[in-house]
């Protein structure tokens, strides 16, 4: 009964004209960045973060969330029509989606991906709504040692999945922690690594770092190669899947929803691992696994449902524990801190309008996406034809204006350019960048939890092992680290790892 009451309250917030508009802008922009290869949700959310400063925090969070799940919808279009994933979570859709397009079935592929995304996204919101409040209640009992261990697990999980090399990913996480420690020490007030540069006193800003690492460096790398796109010419008529398509997609959609949601909750999880796991499961359960990769609809329905279901799950650790599970959630956490809100167990009680407004806006956003995606596929295809020589100056200008308008300071722009160049070289040397962002946001929280824990235990590390939740979390982290050294696990990890670090 209380949930229904909260749900109605949430709809009251989400249906306010201003919030409805923000939801529409978010899902529209999300679909756009999902469609455009080379611009993922992390870059898009960083770029648009400064534009939300004049909006209410609820509206801003609704818009940023819309960008995230909108990108999951949009990503499938380029996978199916171009064999180029618009974002990392849609990589696996290329395998069967593009083959379906080549067989003249682009319409049903796009249709089932939009409808599956809608079903997966909606079911995951139901899960979020049911799981988050009791989890937040339980999290009130967590102390600094539990938080420290959970943050360590989050970082280890992300580094486990973030790229070719785990030591490189861990190195990037350590770099992120260091960057998070720059500025005034939260406990003693001492300035660290500020080199008398005023903007560094408040710490290294999330927006210039994210824009530099994900926006500027992406442009610099794209400038080096010729980006010519050949759009596969095929009939886009008959977008609705037929009865046989539905019969074959029914269980993949259901399994994708459940898998995606639970994998999304895991630290380091989200859309990417959900879609890859769903594809592997569908292939395993199929009566004709040998046809996977040749254009079977189950290979599109499962992963596309799972990557959207993963988005709902990914919100749970952020909204209940205040711990982001991936780089996108780290940006959202940074945004909420800028708006003066502290995500965590008290968020639902202290800001019910934000929590329930954001959750119910996702129902509305998913419905908007269904309406947007099916009739507007032709428009998205046209947008793909925008030449890069026109697109890249606009992306750069967005980055510049976004970084400047943070504090009306050109030093932020210079900082963004420095991180852009650093990101360019790090990508050249195959270092994943998502752990830097996650650790940058978690760095100050991790330091606070560590120091408080050590103060509580008078310097004894036993405090992390004597509390059950902390012990289990650390054991899982250790097992992940150890398993990455085993050859068979290394191979398994290579199979499911993120093929791109842009997210």
């Amino acid at each position: 009964m209380e949930t229904i009451h909260s749900l109605l309250f949430g709809f009251g917030v989400a249906l306010q004209p201003g919030n409805l508009l923000m939801c529409f802008i978010g899902v529209l922009l999300g679909t756009l960045v999902g469609v455009l290869p080379g611009l993922g949700p992390v870059a898009a959310m960083s770029l648009l973060l400064p534009t939300t400063y004049n909006v209410s925090p609820v509206g801003a969070v609704i818009m940023l969330a819309g960008i995230y799940y909108g990108a999951m919808y949009g990503g499938s279009t380029t996978s199916i029509l171009l064999n180029i994933p618009g974002e990392a979570a849609s990589v696996v859709t290329c395998l069967d989606g593009y083959q379906m397009a080549r067989n003249g079935r682009a319409g049903p592929a796009l249709g089932i991906s939009a409808l599956g995304s809608f079903i997966g996204g909606t079911l995951s919101i139901v899960g979020l709504m049911l799981v988050a409040p009791p989890l937040a209640e339980a999290a009130l009992k967590f102390g600094p040692p539990e938080y420290f261990s959970l943050m360590i697990l989050g970082m280890i999980m992300l580094t486990f999945l973030a790229g070719d090399s785990m030591p490189k990913a861990l190195c990037m996480a350590a770099l992120g922690i260091f960057l998070g420690n720059v500025g005034m020490d939260i406990l003693s007030g001492m300035e660290r690594f500020t080199f008398d540069i005023p903007i560094l006193i408040d710490g290294v800003g999330l927006v210039p770092v994210a824009m530099g690492l994900f926006g500027i460096s992406e442009v610099l790398l794209n400038l080096e190669v010729s980006l010519k796109r050949d759009i596969f010419k095929t009939s886009l008529k008959g977008l609705l899947p037929n009865l046989d398509d539905w019969r074959r997609s029914f269980w993949p959609v259901i399994r994708g929803s459940v898998l995606g949601f639970f994998l999304g909750i895991l630290p380091g999880g989200g859309g990417v691992i959900s879609s890859f796991t769903s594809y592997a499961v569908e292939k395993k359960l199929s009566r004709y696994p040998e046809r996977f990769g040749q254009g079977v609809i189950e290979g599109v329905a499962g992963p596309e449902t799972a990557n959207n279901a993963g988005t709902g799950g990914a919100f749970i650790p952020l909204l209940t524990l205040g711990i982001p599970s991936n780089a996108v959630m780290a940006i959202l956490l940074g945004a909420m801190l800028i708006y003066g809100m502290q995500p965590g167990p008290l968020l639902i009680k202290e800001h019910p309008d934000l929590f329930w407004g954001a959750v119910t806006s996702m129902y509305i956003g998913n419905a908007m996406l269904l309406v947007l995606n099916l009739p507007l596929i032709g428009l998205w295809v046209q947008i793909l034809k925008i030449p890069y020589r026109v697109l890249f100056p606009l992306i750069l200008l967005f980055c510049i204006v976004g970084a400047y308008s943070l504090n009306n300071n050109t030093a932020e722009v210079a900082m963004m350019i420095v991180f852009g160049v650093a990101g360019y070289f790090l990508r050249k040397f195959k270092y994943p960048l998502a752990p830097v962002i996650l650790a940058l946001v978690l760095g100050p929280m991790l330091e606070k939890a560590l120091r408080q824990s050590l103060l509580m235990s008078v310097g004894s590390g036993w405090i992390f092992l004597s509390r059950p939740i902390s012990l289990v979390t650390l054991l899982i982290s250790f097992a992940l680290l150890a398993s990455s050294l085993l050859p068979w696990m290394r191979k398994k990890r290579e199979d499911i790892r993120e093929p791109s670090d842009k997210d």
């Binding site: 190195c171 400038l223 750069l396 510049i400 560590l450």
Partner: protein, 159 residues
């Protein structure tokens, strides 16, 4: 351990990146010692940064050793066939832009930057490029300065 990059099939990226990161990690750890390290009973401001620096060194060293064991591509392979000058020119343009943004103001500096960038990848007529740069700059000005009330630099024009 394979110290000769030509001896085995080359699989890893050049180890230069891990060497730079090892140096950076060392600098961070040493720099952090200038702040109060404290003790395990009462950690100070330098406590976590020291461990962060040491972690960077340790993980870079592991990467470096892995590269030595597996062999690596020569450094020039990273830029083989890449139009790296385009990236370098774009970076230089951005740095110049950020240096002159406050004095010239948003409108002038952005029109200049966009005029150059729109022509950077493919030749186009100056008239068309200038028009596109003007429209883009005014569009951004209207959205950010007028609508979102951002305080973009006024510079020479005073608005």
């Amino acid at each position: 351990m394979n110290l000769d990059p030509e001896r085995k099939p080359m699989r890893e990226v050049h180890p230069g990146g891990s060497v730079v990161l090892m140096a950076l990690g060392t600098a961070i750890a040493i720099g952090a010692l200038r702040y109060d390290f404290g003790s395990f009973e009462s950690p100070g401001a330098g406590f976590l940064p020291v461990f962060a620096g040491l972690s960077i060194v340790a993980f870079s060293a592991v990467t470096f050793l892995q590269t030595l064991r597996r062999g690596w591509h020569p450094l020039r392979e990273l830029w083989k066939g890449a139009r790296w000058r385009q990236a370098a020119i774009a970076t230089a343009c951005l740095l110049l832009y950020s240096a002159f943004l406050r004095d010239l103001g948003f409108l002038i500096s952005t029109v200049l930057l966009m005029s150059y960038l729109f022509r950077m990848l493919e030749p186009a007529s100056w008239k068309g490029t200038l028009f596109a740069a003007l429209v883009t700059t005014l569009g951004f000005y209207l959205v950010f300065q007028t609508w979102l009330e951002a305080q973009l630099p006024r510079g020479l024009l005073g608005f």
